[in-house]
């Protein structure tokens, strides 16, 4: 039940533009059932869906005012925020374990320290890249102790299979797929080093139409709860949309924890840590105040209002 009694703004948007992405199963569910259209049709608001192929694309769309809501990894949003992108993370669509360090099944590499001097594929600036840096840091290794080969996610997977690199900071669904079809194994996995799937809104939109942000979050909640209850069907939707095998899709779904949707301290802490690491590796500038950035980015107030 969404009440608009406390409406601060009389106006309503003409159109609401959301993104959907294969890395955000809830967005697929939402799109599949047409709940958003259903909700806003009554008010005469149009709904547009745009597909994001990755966090970088979602941010590009947000930044250029091409979408109002965009799904990204938390760290990616932080990097953009440090570049003055006017966005706020208002919702956690899942705590995914979408990245880990992967190697071929027959490889002698079994722990992070074995990676010393080896070729590791990763896509710069993405969550897997951050994951790789953080796992190395945990072992006391510097980025220069391994040879990081910058490859797009798909190319990295192919390069690993073809034996052109020794390990790969993988991303689902590629990672799940290789696991199923190639029998690749994990060198290191740690769900806590993944930086959450955040739903971001353009600050301008949030300021102008706060109640519509809440409405969208309400809808996301509906999809989240449905997904938890109907994991089988959610898997099917993912498999269909992303043209994945059932098995791969199931693996990807099980690696998503849909339990804690409200952004808060956990995310604050994880992002601050990731941010500091990014600062030492030069991705975020030295002069930026990470804590301040994270505080500006994470805005739990909308979700807190909707979700009890």
């Amino acid at each position: 039940g969404s009440s608009t009694t406390s409406s601060k703004s009389e106006s309503k948007p003409e159109v609401i533009r959301l993104d959907y992405a294969f890395y955000s199963p809830t967005s697929l569910v939402l799109k599949e059932f047409g709940w958003v259209e259903e909700e806003f049709e009554k008010e005469g608001i149009k709904v547009e869906w745009v597909q994001s192929l990755g966090s970088n694309k979602a941010l590009e769309f947000l930044n250029s005012n091409s979408v109002d809501f965009g799904s990204t990894a938390g760290a990616a949003a932080l990097i953009a925020k440090s570049k003055a992108a006017p966005i706020e993370s208002v919702y956690i669509y899942s705590k995914p374990e979408w990245t880990a360090l992967v190697t071929q099944g027959s490889s002698p590499i079994s722990k992070v320290s074995d990676l010393k001097g080896k070729k590791v594929a990763a896509t710069l600036g993405t969550d897997p890249y951050i994951f790789l840096l953080r796992s190395l840091a945990e072992e006391g290794l510097k980025p220069s102790d391994v040879e990081i080969v910058n490859l797009q996610h798909g190319d990295g997977a192919a390069a690993l299979v073809a034996g052109k690199v020794d390990a790969w900071a993988g991303l689902d669904p590629h990672m799940a797929k290789l696991e199923v079809t190639e029998g690749t194994k994990f060198v290191y996995r740690n769900a806590d080093l993944n930086t959450y799937g955040t739903l971001n809104v353009r600050s301008e939109f949030a300021k102008k139409y706060p109640e519509y942000v809440e409405k969208v979050i309400t809808l996301y909640e509906k999809a989240r709860l449905w997904t938890i209850e109907n994991e089988q069907e959610a898997t099917k939707i993912l498999a269909e949309q992303a043209q994945l095998d059932q098995e791969v899709a199931a693996l990807q779904i099980t690696r998503n924890d849909f339990s804690k949707p409200i952004p808060g301290d956990t995310q604050n802490k994880a992002l601050t840590e990731a941010g500091k690491l990014l600062q030492t590796s030069g991705v975020i500038e030295e002069k930026d105040d990470i804590e301040k950035l994270v505080n500006q980015l994470i805005q739990p107030k909308f979700a807190e209002k909707v979700i009890k």
Binding site: V50, L53, F61, S64, S66, H153, P173, H174
Partner: protein, 286 residues
């Protein structure tokens, strides 16, 4: 002396022709199709063989039959037409747009030295900006609708057409232009009646180059928030690590590119029959 080499060169062609001259025209061109298919078919067979034997692992490069089946599946579930249709549409409109602008600017720059000095340096600088680099700018300027996609394709088409037109116009024989001057042709008449027909060969090459680039720019264009299209399919395949989708879309690119190029080639052949050149004289001698 070395005319020997020459006769050797021309003879097999002529004797081939003698063979087919008695057949209908259709047969001649179908013979060309057969010759043109030798290489692709050989390559396909080799690839299929190597896949079957296991030299090429299927997870990296699936066999042609696998890809063929994938395409058939896409035809059956109807998704193929959506992808091909929308991409074809975008390339077509972008191609038209790019060509028209290139024609206007190219004629201007080729003909007026001042326009050349003013505009050309800037355009030449833009020419080497990669399609991927335009993407963020286009998203910024035109958001992510059809407009930005079509415009990006038009940018790709523009440059080769422009370059060829400028060079074609500048290469027009002075002798012919003087004929127009004598008749007191206005600049517009000069361009229409002499410069365009005389630079037609160059223009047509530009068109074919431009069309090729149009197809190339589709991928970048469809990175801008598309959910259908061949370029989308390709990137989708890459993001999903589906080599069959990747190769299927590459194949479709090749096929469509080939078909559209063939159309232009036929037009080229029709439009240049007056040329007294190597190609037409070979035609005569056959």
């Amino acid at each position: 002396m070395s005319q020997q080499t020459e006769t050797n060169v021309i003879k097999p062609i002529r004797s081939n022709f003698k063979l087919s001259i008695s057949l209908t025209k259709w047969t001649t061109s179908s013979k060309q199709v057969v010759i043109g298919s030798i290489l692709p078919i050989t390559l396909l067979l080799l690839w299929e063989l190597l896949s079957r034997v296991g030299v090429i692992p299927p997870n990296q490069l699936p066999a042609p039959t696998v890809i063929f089946l994938k395409i058939v599946t896409m035809i059956q579930d109807g998704s193929l037409w959506g992808h091909v249709g929308i991409t074809f549409f975008r390339v077509f409109i972008g191609f038209l747009l790019g060509t028209v602008v290139a024609l206007l600017l190219g004629a201007l720059v080729g003909f007026f030295r001042f326009a050349e000095e003013l505009i050309d340096p800037l355009l030449q600088a833009f020419r080497s900006i990669p399609s991927l680099a335009w993407v963020p700018l286009f998203i910024l300027w035109f958001s992510i609708g059809e407009t930005s996609k079509i415009l990006l394709i038009a940018v790709g088409v523009f440059f080769p057409v422009y370059l060829n037109i400028v060079s074609g116009v500048k290469g027009v024989d002075r002798k012919l232009i003087e004929v127009g001057r004598i008749y007191g042709f206005s600049t517009y008449q000069l361009i229409k009646n002499i410069i365009i027909p005389a630079s037609l060969p160059s223009f047509l090459v530009g068109l074919r180059s431009g069309l090729g680039l149009g197809w190339m720019f589709v991928v970048a264009a469809e990175l801008m928030g598309a959910s259908t299209g061949l370029g989308y399919l390709l990137v989708f395949g890459q993001n999903m690590s589906s080599p069959d989708i990747i190769i299927a879309s590459i194949f479709l690119f090749a096929l469509l590119g080939k078909l559209t190029d063939f159309t232009l080639k036929v037009i080229e052949h029709k439009a240049l029959h007056w040329q007294d050149s190597l190609s037409s004289s070979q035609g005569n001698e056959r």
